[in-house]
């Protein structure tokens, strides 16, 4: 009995060592960022690393808002507005189309759905250059409308929402219509609440995608006042390589909002992403 018990304890110990190790590897870069962000430009260069700053300072946080040539505060507001607007456009258009695919079949709809799925396989690389030129022709370069519009083309969202809506029995929607509700009302008041978990998953994925996106805003938005947080932080990184404490403060401020959103809605996202299986 004894040796068996000891083997089990040993395995348990090994398990916890692995857990701590993995957690440490994940968190240490964040802690390094956080600790550096509260130091001065001299204090960050120490061997060994001083995890708790000797003289904590907000210098990095103050300077990140006042870097010459950049406007970090403005960019934060831009990013917030753009993330919300993009999410609205993307989620609304996807849900509306999904409603048709799930509940209003017509001849040729199957083929159309096949086409939607096929567009998911085209890498963004191929469409990036022509999309830029399309916006140029439409005169929408360097505008928020131009940045947001391509979010209408969201086959993944349509697919996700259709799979959820298809499980809602027709009879619920039909009986509401017999009671005199319009189709639009049925969609908003009956159908969407019934697929709420998937809906919120899509909202979250859309918001995180929009907040974190880099390449598209980098290409489309050229005037400094319109740029997003990610683009500004990326540009700062190449211009002020030696001001790590400022950059780390910028990184903290970029990560914090999305981390907050994530933690607040955590359970919903986890189940949803495993279900989607796609970025």
């Amino acid at each position: 009995m004894m040796p068996k018990l000891r083997a089990k304890q040993l395995r348990n110990a090994a398990f916890y060592v692995m857990v701590v190790l993995m957690a440490a590897l994940t968190l240490l870069p964040f802690l390094f960022m956080l600790s550096s962000s509260f130091k001065g430009s001299e204090a960050i260069r120490t061997i060994p690393i001083r995890w708790i700053p000797e003289r904590p300072t907000l210098e990095g946080y103050i300077r990140v808002f006042n870097m010459p040539g950049f406007s970090f505060g403005r960019a934060s507001l831009n990013s917030l507005f753009l993330a919300l607007a993009t999410t609205l456009v993307q989620v609304l258009s996807a849900c509306m189309a999904a409603f048709v695919f799930a509940k209003l079949p017509f001849r040729g709809l199957g083929k159309l759905f096949g086409l939607y799925l096929a567009t998911m396989m085209i890498p963004g690389t191929v469409t990036m250059v022509p999309n830029y030129i399309i916006l140029r022709i439409m005169g929408l370069l360097d505008s928020y409308t131009g940045l947001i519009l391509p979010a209408l083309a969201n086959a993944f969202g349509v697919f996700l929402m259709r799979q959820a809506m298809i499980t809602v029995p027709d009879s619920y929607l039909e009986s509401a219509m017999l009671d005199g509700a319009s189709l639009y009302r049925v969609f908003l008041v009956i159908l969407l609440p019934m697929v709420a978990p998937t809906f919120f998953t899509l909202v979250l994925l859309a918001f995180m995608g929009a907040w974190n996106s880099y390449l598209w805003p980098l290409i489309v938005l050229t005037s400094t006042g319109k740029q997003t947080l990610q683009v500004v932080l990326g540009n700062m990184n190449s211009m002020y390589r030696n001001n790590e404490h400022v950059l780390m403060a910028g990184a903290v401020l970029t990560i914090l909002p999305i981390l907050l959103v994530y933690v607040l809605s955590q359970c919903r996202v986890d189940s949803g992403i495993a279900l989607g299986g796609l970025k």
Partner: protein
Amino acid sequence: MYLPNANTRRTATAVFLAPSLIGVAVFCLLPIAMSFYYSFMDYDLLAGSMDFLGLKNFARILTGREFPQVLLHTLTYLGLYLPLILVCSLGQALLLNRSFRGRAVLRTVFYTPVITSWVAAAVVWTWVLSGRYGLMNQALSLFGIKGPAWLSSRVWAMPGIVITAVWKDTGYYALMVLAALKSIDPALYEAAGIDGAGGARKFFSITLPLLTPTLFLLVVINVIYGLQVFDSVLIMTDGGPGGATTVFLERIYKYAFRQYKMGMASAYSWILFLIILAFTLLQFRLQKRWVNYDA
């Protein structure tokens, strides 16, 4: 669903479908056609000139000195990233598959790098990987290893980017593996236990074979994404030092938006698409050899 009025149905269908359909048509289907057309053109956006070139863009890219380098760097990234991400996400999923106190917290911790933007991750890791004072080299020096100046070294820049990517992506793929682990029938382990199988035996005879469909999916997805690596490269090295980390998307971006050679960029993106397609088809061919579909 049944609607008494056929007219209402038609109108509603049109209204509901229009935004998405217009989006897909204008920003997805039309661009594919345009990109194909541009790839045969000498299209200089700044000069506004467009001349027919035939296959010259493709020929110039494929016979140039740059292409083998770009291919080599991208495949180096993929070759380092793929095994690491598979092992790490499998390991993380196995840890999360046990029930213990603090499991929910650990899940959140593991997922934090995933929700972090690539820009923030790249900015942080540029500092982590910096030569003398960075976290990485200070950690290595605890083991008596003198770390390289990662991102400014021709040899170590790409491994540095790979480590960052593995750190950032592991939590995401671990969730996919975890979902697959949860769907394995516990009775299989019990039966194996009765037959006297130990932990390692159970892992290699039950867990791993039953995970192969998910691992296959992971490989396919990661090859597709890995061949399109971009954000990390642009922010951490910008293709440097001395062109040691030039990759496909970085080249396409620079042809298109630094030199405004839209034809070259389009041709380059089609070549990349064909490479992605070839890799994906090859994997579906090879899957019979290692993927186990009889659960």
